[in-house]
Amino acid sequence: MKQPRSQLALAAIALLLGLLVVVQLRAQQAGTGLETQSSQDLTLLIANLTTRNDQLRGEVADIQDQLDAMAAANARGETSVGRLRGELERARTWSGEDPASGPGIRVLLFGGVPAAAISDLVNELRNAGAEAISIGGVRVVVGTTPVGAPGALSVEGTPLGPRVEVMAIGNPAVLTGGLTRAGGLVAQLQARYEEVLVEVTPLDVVAVPAAGRSLAPVRGVPRP
């Protein structure tokens, strides 16, 4: 009599235990804030991750092609001077050590523009895929941060004056659309700062200068 009942109890406990272990493990697995997101936000996140993963796949293919070309050139006994020059140019243009030009947009901001508005703009341009940016003729590199009171802004030590000109290289239609869409950054800026006027112009050729300072790390050393 006692034996079957105890087995039944054990089976029930084991079942419950198993269920709880699974629920707990799943909760921990998804414990990255995702479980608190709405379906709409998750869908948006999926779209973004998909696009960005595609870009990363493109980068993998690109480096793989370069490696193959290198191997082929080595096999033919060719020197790699041309390839190295191309690689040098690309890295320096991308980082801002070299000047750049290409299609893009000009954004003019008038009237008591706060520093935060300029950094909001730069962030939005980067998000829309800008490849090179300048503020008031100063190249924006990693760490470039506008400072100062409205009307007396400066960037990398260069004063900006009352009218701020921001240039960005990238797809002109995408950059313009990203800024001027309904509820986009231009609308937000004009709602937040009543006296600020923003003018966006697509251009066939935009030129941005090289960075005015060295980008080589002083305290950081490359990690092997």
Binding site: I13, Q28, Q40, D41, I63, A91, A100, G102, G170, G220
Partner: protein, 254 residues
């Protein structure tokens, strides 16, 4: 001892198993209750596949980034190997390596600080937005800007190296930096002069930020000053589709 041993032996094994199972059950119930507690959980049926898709995409992304770093290391090694074949090639190879370091394509190690930002644990008062009580893209960006102004020379957020193309974007309640979806706690690692921490906390902009976000909404900000701070390499795309060097023909030969 012998009597106790005899008593233990006399307990049927199924009772021991049951007791063990009940203890485990108790722990799990407690753990489950704690997991459920902090935030509202959506329980609709269609969300589970969405969460699974996000998790799968994140795993794909991690693999792609690892592959990019692997291939770049392979390329640098191949270049170094060929650098012995003449002064011009070895000069160019050294220049390429320096340009990659300046661009953030190489991991750095040095003195610095690590800041940690976490969502508020303060209950959100009725009528207020939960967004104010969470660490948002703008919070991270403003903190990072303060770090640059304080003299940081290399910064990463949860392992994402900040580069000239880095944007901080809110997507609903989530946060994208470079290609990556980040979740709290946010750890900002910065390499710079030993005075970095002192310069940061003395900055009026930083003090204002702490007042506005930590004091007012309970966003948690903490610091660490380890001996060495590591800032990883950028594992993303450096392909330029629109930007070109101006008038390449006019560039003098090196």
């Amino acid at each position: 001892m012998t009597t106790l041993g005899a008593r233990v032996r006399s307990i049927p094994s199924w009772q021991v198993a049951l007791a063990g199972a009940l203890v485990a059950l108790g722990f799990l119930v407690a753990a489950q209750a704690r997991t459920e507690a902090p935030r509202v959980r959506y329980t609709t049926q269609e969300r589970a596949p969405l969460v699974e898709t996000v998790v799968a995409l994140q795993a794909q992304q991690e693999a792609l980034k690892d592959r990019i770093l692997e291939l770049r290391a392979e390329m640098a090694a191949a270049e170094q190997g060929a650098a012995g074949s003449g002064a011009l090639v070895s000069d160019l190879t050294a220049a390429v390596e320096a340009a990659r370091i300046a661009a953030g394509l190489v991991a750095l190690e040095g003195p610095g600080i690590v800041l940690q930002l976490e969502d508020s644990q303060v209950p959100v008062p009725p009528g207020e937005s939960i967004a104010e009580y969470r660490v948002g893209a703008r919070d991270l960006r403003l903190i990072v800007e303060e770090l640059w102004l304080a003299g940081a020379e290399a910064v990463s957020v949860n392992g994402e190296r900040l580069v000239p193309t880095t944007a901080f974007v809110d997507i609903g309640g989530t946060l994208l930096v470079n290609s990556a979806y980040l979740a709290p706690p946010y750890q900002i690692a910065a390499i710079g002069e030993p005075e970095l921490y002192a310069a940061l906390v003395a900055s009026p902009g930083f003090v204002e930020l702490v007042r506005a976000r930590a004091d007012q909404y309970g966003i948690r900000i903490s610091f660490a000053e380890p001996d060495r701070v590591t800032v990883p390499a950028y594992a993303g795309t450096v392909t330029l589709r629109y930007a070109r060097p101006p008038a390449p023909d006019a560039t003098p030969e090196p």
